[in-house]
Every structure is written in C-alpha cells, then in structure tokens.
C-alpha cells in the first residue's frame, strides 16, 4: 500500500536497510539457488551434544562456556543406506546470536525464528536458574536444534550463504559474517525499531498483527508464570506423600498381621512421591514450546514495526516533495503561499534579483526530480516489503496454529499419562492395604 500523498514528489530521509534491488535480488536467489528451494530437504541437521570449555578471558580469568556440536549430513545419505559419518563443528550460544542478528538485518520482512532463552526464566522452585545446570543445557541443545531446523525449512532463510557456512565452516565464519557489514545495519535497525513516530496511513493488517503479537506475548507470559506455580504446588503434593512411606514402615514394625501390607504400601507411596520428577521434567518441554512462541512475538512485532518505519519514511518523503513543489510554485508565481522565514526577510529587505531566483529555481527543480525518482523507488520498496512480509506472516500464522495445536495435544497426552500413573500407584497401594 502506498503513501497517500496525492503526489509523487518527496525527498529521501532516513535509513533504508535494503534497496528494492537488494530485496529482489534476495528473492531471486531463493528461486535460483543451486541448493534447491528448501535446505531442510537436502540436509539433515542435528545439534548432537553439548560440552563445557574453559578459556582465559580478557582479564585473564577462567571462563566456562558451553559449546554445541552441530552435525550435518546430506539427507539422501540415509536413504542410500550408507551410514556416512556426518560433518560436524562446534558452536557456542553467542555465535547463534550473531547468526540470528545477521538474519534479522538481512531479511527484515521475515518473522525470524527465535533462539532458546539465554537465561532460565519462569522457573518453578526445583529448577535452578543456573545456566550450567545439565537439564537447562539439554533443553537449550534441543532449542538450538529446533532453531536451525526452522531456519533450514524457511523458504527464504534456508538459502542464505552465511547460514550455510554457519553449518559447515567452523573457522573463519565469524570473519565472514562481520565482513558483510551487518553490524552497522543492526545498530541502526535497533534504533529505528525503538523510535517513536506516527504513521498517518498504516496498513490495517499490520496494525492488527502487531496488536495480536502484543496480546499473545502477554497471555503466554501469564500462562508460563501460572504454570510454574502450578508445577511448584504439584511437586509439594507428591513429595509429602513420601512421608507416608516412612511412617508406614515404622508402623509396620509394631504390627503382626498388618505389617507386610503396610510396608509394601509404604513403598508405593515412595514411588508415587518420586514419580513427580519425571512428570515435571516432561512438562518443561511444553513450557519450552510456549516460550518459543513467546519469543516469536518479538520477531513478529519487528516485522510490523519495520513496515511502519518504511511507511513513515515514505510519508515523510512524500511530504517533503510536496513542500518543495509548493516552493517552486511560489518562486514561479511570486506569491507566498507558505510562510517561511526567507520569504519574510526577502519581503522586508527587498526581493531577490532575477538571477538569484533563476538559480534557486534550478536547484529546486533538481531536488524535485531527485525526490520524484526517490519516491518512486520508495513506493516500490514499500510494495515489495508489504507483499513479502505479509506472505511470511501468513506462513507464520499457519505454522503457529499447527504448532500450538500439537503442543496442546502433547500436553493433554502428558496429563493422561500422569493420571494413568496415579491410578496405577494407588491401585497397587490399595491392594497392599487390602492385605493388611
């Protein structure tokens, strides 16, 4: 949708990350890429392991960090039956962050998949918020693999060279990515995203989408918070039952006929109390699935904001062109339509010479021409952006609906499993009580 300025004249203001040419180029690349439309189908990607490394940092202190092993293998190797060893390399979390920032900057119309959280949040009391905790590391490994798979299955992102190198070239990748100069663009992008400005004619769809993103973020945060509290309480209920185990055992010591039944029932109570650990560990997967979409809302908001920014700049450019045209008219007809300080001073101190006026006209004409060309470009850019961004948003919506439905199904299955285990344990205990 174009800015409704009524005219095509505008001057260029602001920072545009990608020229329309660049955007078109990227899209061409995705179609003609020799790697095929979707990398996912050509390659198996696996984040297989996590390992701890130590290094001396800038202030000569020992720093411990975790690295993740990324394995890749051509997908047809499995179908051929040859169990070829996969190619592999190690990456740490910060490198994933660099990759993602690059993608954000390079493809601003894409809802870029999020990384797993940097620090453990929404934890219930038994889980530590410790990044070194093995369970956290394991869940992060899964999250990173998920990130790579999402990128590899995205029609646009999967064809990116930097992404491909991330998977295949351990050394020199960082230099390669910094050479693209994305860092500078990243900084200005961040600034633009956080700036406040008012758009006169925003695309309604994007505005609605942004609003949806905000609501989704709010509700998932709330859900995760309450779920953590629920997990906490559930843990308490199960663990207290373990006390029955001990007291039944002590009690059975003074009983004759009742003793055996009590003792065995006590063991079942212990088993019941212990079972909650696995139950809650499984539920963390559900929480992780929710978290992914919580973080996705940020990417969604970024795309909507990007649209606003482009729209705003378009509007500003159109505005500027209008002003310049008016100035041109004034110079030509000698009438002052718009108030300007120059106009006032010239009135007070006398008109300019015809030569001066001529010169000014020429400059203005040049500017107007530039402005019109630029506005045309910006309009195209805006159009292209809107089209590609909205297409990706539609793709994202379908993916979200599918994924969240699957998440709810697996959550229900978890609950069913938990209920069945509960029935089993109490049935066993009841048998023991009956033998008392």
């Amino acid at each position: 949708m174009m800015a409704d300025t009524g005219s095509d004249e505008v001057a260029v203001i602001g920072n545009i990350d990608l020229t329309p040419g660049e955007i078109e180029n990227n899209m061409k690349n995705t179609q003609k890429s020799e790697k095929g439309p979707v990398l996912f189908r050509k390659m198996e990607i696996n984040v297989a392991e996590a390992e701890k490394r130590t290094v001396k940092n800038a202030v000569n202190m020992q720093e411990i960090y975790t690295v993740y092993l990324i394995e890749t293998r051509p997908a047809d190797a499995a179908s051929e039956g040859t169990n070829s060893t996969p190619d592999s390399l190690w990456r740490r979390y910060s490198e994933f962050e660099i990759l993602r920032n690059f993608l954000l900057v390079t493809y601003p119309f894409v809802v870029v998949p999020p990384l797993p959280e940097k620090r453990a949040e929404f934890v219930w009391h038994k889980l530590t918020a410790d990044n070194m905790d093995p369970d956290f590391v394991e869940r992060r490994r899964v999250g990173l693999e998920n990130f790579l798979l999402r990128v590899a299955s995205h029609p646009t992102l999967s064809t990116d060279n930097i992404f491909f190198s991330f998977l295949t070239e351990e050394n020199g990748w960082k230099e390669m990515v910094f050479e693209t100069g994305f860092q500078a663009k990243a900084d200005s992008r961040l600034k633009a995203l956080n700036a406040t400005f008012r758009v006169k004619n925003p695309d309604k769809r994007f505005a609605e989408m942004k609003h949806y993103g905000d609501e989704l973020q709010s509700v998932i945060s709330q859900l995760l918070r309450v779920r953590a509290r629920v997990a906490d309480r559930l843990y308490g209920v199960y663990k207290v039952h373990g006390n029955y185990g001990r007291v039944f055992s002590e009690w059975s010591a003074i009983e004759k006929e009742m003793g055996d039944g009590l003792q065995s029932a006590g063991h079942h109570m212990d088993a019941y109390a212990a079972s909650v650990d696995d139950i809650l560990e499984e539920e963390e997967h559900y929480a992780d699935q929710l978290k992914e979409y919580l973080f996705y809302t940020e990417a969604l908001r970024a795309v909507c904001r990007k649209h606003e920014l482009i729209q705003y700049e378009l509007e500003m450019a159109a505005q500027d062109l209008t002003t310049k045209k008016q100035q041109q008219e004034e110079l030509a007809t000698g009438t002052v339509r718009t108030f300007s300080l120059k106009g006032m001073t010239s009135k007070l101190f006398g008109q300019e010479t015809p030569e001066q006026r001529e010169a000014k006209m020429k400059v203005l004409e040049g500017q107007i021409q530039e402005g019109e060309d630029s506005l045309k470009e910006q309009n195209t850019e805006c159009d292209v952006f809107v089209k590609s961004a909205w297409s990706d948003i539609e793709r994202f919506k379908d993916q979200k609906n599918h994924d969240l439905k699957e998440a709810l199904i697996s959550y229900a299955i978890m609950q069913i499993s938990m209920c069945k285990k509960g029935i089993q344990v109490w049935t066993n205990a009841k048998e023991c009580f009956n033998k008392m």
């Binding site: 949806y212 609501e215 989704l216 509700v219 998932i220 709330q222 859900l223 309450v226 779920r227 509290r229 629920v230 906490d232 309480r233 559930l234 308490g236 209920v237 207290v240 039952h241 006390n243 029955y244 007291v247 002590e250 009690w251 003074i254 006929e257 009742m258 039944g261 029932a265 609906n401 969240l404 439905k405 709810l408 199904i409 697996s410 959550y411 229900a412 299955i413 609950q415 069913i416 499993s417 209920c419 069945k420 509960g422 029935i423 109490w426 049935t427 205990a429 009841k430 009580f433 009956n434 008392m436």
Partner: protein, 437 residues
C-alpha cells in the same frame, strides 16, 4: 462378703443374680440368651471368648478356662449373618428452643434378643445422651474398653456446630460408637445400653439414679487406693509399649494427612487461576479457540475433582484417625485401672505375709477376692485387647483402602476429562496419530 453374694464378675451381662457362679468353681453354666438364635458369637453369658470376628481369646487364666463352646472362627464377612443386634444412627435434626439449639439423631435398633421387649426401636438422642451412656458404661464395666465418642467441645467460631459437614462427621462417629458397643459381647448386654436404645424418655431414666442391677458395678470402684504397682506383667507391658508407639505413628499420619490437604488446597488455588488463562487466550485466537477452550474446561474439571478429594479426606479420613487416638487413650486408661487392681492385690498379699498370726492354709477372703478381681480383669482386658486389635485392623484397612479409592477416583475423573478432549484437539483428519502411553 459371702461367696454367694453377687460379685462383679468379669463378664457381667444380663444375668440374674442366682445364675452367677464363682469364677473359680468347676461347673460353669452355659447360657444363650435366646434359644432360636444360632451360634451367635456374642451370646455367651459368662465369658466372652468367641469374638465377633472370630479370633480366639487366650484361655490360660483359670477364670476363663471353660465355656468356650461357641468359639467360631468367623470370617469378617459373616459378621452380619450371626449378629442379633443392629443399631444405626441417622437422620440428624435441629431443635430450636428458647434455651438452646441442639441436634438430635435417630437411633434405630433391630434385635432378636430377649433382653429387649420389642424387636424394633426408634428413638431420638442428642450428644449429651451418648455422653451419659459412655460414662455409665465406664462406671459399670470398668474392666472393659469402652469405645470413644467424638470430641465433646468444639471451639465456637472456629467450627460451625450446625454445618452439614460437622453434623455428618459427628453422626458417623456416633454411629460407629453404638455399633462398637453393640458388637461387644459384654457391653452390648449392659442395662444402660438397653435403656439408651429403647426408652422413650431417657431423661426420666437418667434421673432415677442407680437402677436395680447396677449395684454390682457401682459398688466396686476401681479407684486408685494409693497402691503402686511394682511391675506390669510382660504381656500388659507390651500392650502399653505398643500403644505408645501406635499413638506416635497415628499422630504422624494425622500431620501428614493435614499437610497433604493443605498442599492440595494450594494446588487447587493455582489451578483455578491457570484454567481461565487458556480461556482468555481463546478469546483472541481464531482456529485455536476451540482447543484452548477445551483445555480450559479440562483444567476446571480437574480442579473440581481435586476439591472433592480434599473435602472427602478432610471429612472422612481425619476424624476417623483422631477417633483412634481417643480409643488408644481409653485403652491406656483401662490398662492403668488394671494396674491399680493388681497393685491392691499385691499390697494386700504383702500385708498378709507380714502378719504371721493370720497365716492360714487358705489365703483370707478379701485377698482372695482381690486375686479374683485381678484375674477377671486380666481376662477381660486380654479379650478386649484382641477384639480391639482385630477391629483396629479392619478399621484401618477400611480407612486406608478408602483413601486409596478416593485418590483413584480423582485420577479417573481427570483422566476422562483429558481423554475426552483429545478428539476435540485433533479435529482434522490429516493430523498425525498421537500415541497414548
């Protein structure tokens, strides 16, 4: 006192004075209260030896050596078939008068025993009446373990004495009390118990004071005469130790149960907040609306089931547990009374030993009487102990299987809720198959 005057016999049931023999005499008369009742376990006049639940009583003491005719090994299940006295407490009603407000309960009796004029009775009694009965039983049957009553006093303002839950809990406890008395082969024949079950106007009876046949019981009060027992015999010491440990364990179980109820209540609070979040999410989703609402509904169902579980545990489990603590206190009291009787006997025996001139071939009659009392008490106590142990086993089996049952029901309700929304969540046929573990 001559040998023919009525003494307190260990198992003084509803017998006429003439029929009571000296416990040490060789002959015993065996009586069954009603000829047409079959081999009822509780119907032997003198010694209660065949318990309702069939375990035989220790018969080592000479006082209980005979009349073991109807010792049947009954399964617990056959209980109902051989009982001849059935008592039920139900139908609580509130009475409001100018002076006070109180609850009465209907006490229904069905019996074939000859001690009762009618085969059926239905009377109304209030808590005070039960309390009176218990005191009377304790007084007249001092060698026996009297079942406990629910607590008399409740803190006003903390507990609502007229709430449905409280009244129901109390009714169950009163019902259990009467059933335990009715099942006791000696207590069930107690005259006060009979009147309690049958009299239209209990207050008039209460005012009468001593009834005819109660002289036997009232005259002998096992009051502490300042005698100190040197040592409890091994088997009674063992009972005392058992009771001490058992009390401890029951206390622990009570605390655990309370803690579980508390944790479950807090879990419930969180669940009630959790479900609605799914609902509010559903409010702004399109295709996800139904699945999200489904989950919200499921969580609500589970919350309801949890609420029921917690309530049941509070209403049914805890009171029974506490009742047993009272039962143990009763048993300890009886043990102490027994100690006193033994102490008196030993003291008297010692006194005699010092008085050389009175030493005769036979011990003097009052010492003899003391010895009788000791032996009688011991026999009664052992019999009651065994019966109590058996009942305790049944009661706890019932209590704990009840607890297990309630938990099973809770999980079954939750299971069916979650299983029912799986098809809702998977409403599109092209969805992948999910595995149910």
């Amino acid at each position: 006192m001559s040998a023919s005057t009525p003494k307190t016999l260990c198992t003084s049931g509803q017998q006429s004075i003439q029929d009571i023999c000296h416990p040490l005499s060789a002959e015993e008369s065996v009586r069954t209260p009603s000829p047409d009742v079959g081999n009822t376990t509780g119907s032997i006049g003198e010694k209660d030896l065949s318990l309702p639940n069939g375990t035989p009583v220790d018969t080592s003491s000479p006082a209980s050596s005979s009349s073991l005719l109807n010792r049947l090994q009954l399964d617990d299940d056959l209980d109902g078939e051989t009982r001849d006295l059935f008592v039920t407490v139900d139908d609580p009603k509130k009475h409001v008068s100018t002076m006070e407000t109180y609850i009465t309960y209907r006490v229904s009796t069905k019996t074939t025993r000859v001690e009762f004029d009618l085969p059926e009775y239905s009377v109304r009694r209030r808590y005070q009446d039960f309390d009176w009965l218990r005191i009377k039983l304790e007084d007249t049957q001092p060698t026996h373990l009297i079942p406990p009553l629910p607590e008399k006093f409740v803190m006003k303002g903390v507990v609502d004495r007229f709430s449905e839950e409280f009244v129901e809990t109390r009714r169950k406890a009163l019902d259990k009390f009467l059933k335990r008395v009715a099942d006791h082969p000696v207590l069930s024949f107690n005259e006060h118990f009979n009147v309690f079950l049958s009299a239209k106007d209990l207050n008039a009876y209460k005012k009468q004071g001593l009834a005819l046949l109660t002289k036997m019981g009232e005259s002998v009060k096992y009051v502490t005469g300042g005698y100190k027992l040197r040592g409890r015999p091994l088997e009674f010491a063992a009972m005392g130790d058992y009771l001490d440990v058992f009390t401890q364990k029951l206390g622990t179980i009570d605390r655990i149960a309370q803690r579980i109820i508390k944790e479950q209540s807090e879990y419930l609070v969180e669940l009630r907040e959790y479900g609605p979040v799914y609902s509010s999410w559903a409010g702004f989703e399109g295709p996800l609306q139904e699945p999200l609402e489904g989950v919200a509904g499921c969580v609500a169902n589970c919350a309801g089931a949890l609420d029921e579980l917690t309530e049941d545990m509070s209403d049914d489990f805890l009171p029974v547990l506490r009742e047993y603590v009272l039962y143990i206190e009763s048993m300890k009291t009886v043990l102490k009374k027994r100690d006193n009787v033994q102490a008196e006997y030993e003291a008297k025996l010692e006194a005699v030993a010092f008085r050389k001139e009175e030493r005769t071939a036979q011990p003097p009659t009052d010492v003899e009487k003391c010895q009788d009392r000791v032996e009688c008490f011991n026999a009664d106590l052992k019999a009651d102990w065994d019966r109590w142990q058996n009942n305790k086993r049944q009661d706890f089996r019932q209590l704990l299987t009840g607890m297990a049952d309630r938990n099973i029901q809770y999980y079954e309700k939750c299971l069916s809720a979650w299983e029912s929304i799986i098809p809702l969540l998977q409403d599109r046929p092209e969805n992948t198959k999910t595995e149910t573990s």
